[in-house]
Symmetry: C2
Subunit: 332 residues, 2 copies
């Protein structure tokens, strides 16, 4: 085994062992908050919150706080707020996308109905605000409301852009910044704010988060098309659902204007044959398009790594480097 | 004209003239906030916000602040937040109720689609939080998140209870407290908090608000059935839509257990004939049921009036009395 490989294995082990220490505390705090919830909202909240999320956002909050020397256990409820906000957006997303499954389980709205699911999303967002007010920290509250606002606007931007005939790479990056990366930025930022961090250091926590968030989504997009990775999901799901993501955008850019127009028309009107779908997925894998998308994601991961240079030397700063490595290497 | 009548006319004139002074400033501030909104959310926000609301909630906020001596113009953006929260709940409500009209105009989701309408509701709630953080007042933020959380839970409670076979008067009051009165309470409370009010006085602003809010909804329920008032809307709309409100609950209480069960079954399964609907509406008007409901609303209005005794003597405290009178006498 060469040195690089050995270092990689060590990184993943260190990351896993760190997560293992904190995950039970995150779960315990999620349970405490669920039990505080109004009984009419609790079942739907439990359904979405206990459906096997990776708790990446809470972990990022804890890691950022501890990287900056914060050791108080009141970080845990704050870290859980991130999972509550994330869950609220998933509840609304699944209605919007008309999705029947979420993490392999039935989507909440298919069990509880759309009405209660919309309102539970609202209640979880309001509850998140309630919990954060307990910290009596205005900066934290300002960032929280910014993150929720930008996430909602990001999702509307996505819908508006998807209605157009074509999305450029720049527009796509704007969409995923809004709908995914801002909340990951806030996950990092909130931990740093609780640790009392300000100025350039706080800015670096933000930059770490936003770039990690964009990369996280781009890697997700690549995994969806990749023959090389075994995610357990059918390959090309995004294309089959008519979702336009970076690999498809880069593929469309290799076509002539007319070909591009025809293909987009077929995708949007749901007229793409199974054969053509398979051909596009093959082409995306063959024509170096996935490598281009991976390159893009690595550019953002490098920016996230650069931001870490402003963090203090600490175990948690190292673990945040492992997180970058995990996002780069993840296969599901 | 007798003295009482003369006094009543004066009260209404004073109220109207007070509203006339402040309404343009409220509208101006609503426009400023709408123009701040992300362009993809702005059109839907404008549609719901400029559809002819009475601005009761902003007025209550201003009246409470000024009653306690607060004269700063920064009350206006805060007062508008109440209208933004109210509008967000209306956007979600109309989807939930599958309503096509709102204040005589097309409901937002019928023009912009459910997806964007749900997300605009989310964005408006987040924006409300953003605006309130600018006041850097933790008490204000705590009350705001409480109000939004309780409103969302109140709506879920309504749906859950409506699925049951029967609702008691107590349960009905619990529902309208959640879905209507808490936001009216917060309208009053937020003005008082900005005025720096605490303790018993703040409690009295809250009590004024919650009781006014419950009465406001009960009067609304009565107007829907009343032959005596000309609201411009068809009489008995709630019954025809299968909505259970206080007059119907009181009417059901006059029936035998079997009759009650049969009638509820017909209402819930949408099998109520036009003839039976008309008969029930007539009975509710004849059998003194509306007077019972009016009595109930007046009980809450009296509680609101009692709360005002802890307010300082001021023009605005008098106007708040006029508001009680307006709720009692309103006919649309």
């Amino acid at each position: 085994m060469n040195n690089k490989k050995e270092k990689e294995i060590k990184q993943m082990q260190r990351l896993k062992s760190y997560f293992k220490t904190h995950l039970p505390k995150i779960e315990k705090n999620i349970d405490i908050i669920i039990n505080e919830i109004d009984p009419y909202v609790r079942d739907i909240a439990r359904h979405i919150l206990k459906s096997g999320g990776k708790r990446l956002r809470p972990m990022l909050c804890i890691l950022n706080a501890r990287a900056f020397g914060y050791r108080n256990d009141d970080i845990y409820p704050l870290s859980c707020v991130l999972e509550f906000i994330h869950s609220a957006t998933l509840l609304h997303d699944d209605i919007i996308d008309n999705a029947n499954l979420r993490r392999g389980n039935k989507a909440a709205h298919t069990i509880f109905g759309e009405t209660k699911t919309i309102l539970t999303g609202d209640a979880l967002l309001a509850l998140s605000n309630q919990i954060v007010t307990r910290y009596e920290n205005i900066s934290l509250l300002k960032c929280l409301s910014d993150a929720i606002y930008k996430t909602a606007c990001g999702e509307i931007l996505e819908i508006a852009k998807m209605e157009k005939s074509y999305i450029s790479t720049e527009e796509y990056l704007e969409i995923i910044t809004g709908k995914t990366a801002y909340l990951i930025q806030f996950s990092c930022e909130s931990g740093a704010i609780l640790a009392g961090v300000e100025g350039k250091k706080l800015q670096s926590a933000r930059e770490f988060g936003i770039n990690l968030g964009i990369a996280f989504q781009l890697v997700d997009d690549v995994l969806d098309y990749s023959f090389e990775h075994n995610t357990g999901k059918p390959i090309g799901g995004d294309l089959r659902e008519g979702k336009i993501t970076l690999p498809l955008i880069l593929y469309l850019d290799t076509l002539s204007t007319q070909e591009k127009k025809d293909l987009l028309g077929q995708i949007k009107s749901n007229r793409l044959t199974k054969e053509l779908q398979d051909q596009i997925i093959k082409d995306i894998n063959k024509k170096g398009i996935l490598s281009q998308a991976i390159e893009k994601s690595e550019m953002y991961l490098n920016k996230a790594r650069d931001a870490l240079s402003f963090f203090p030397n600490s175990l948690e700063t190292e673990i945040l480097e492992d997180v970058i490595f995990f996002v780069k290497k993840r296969d599901k």
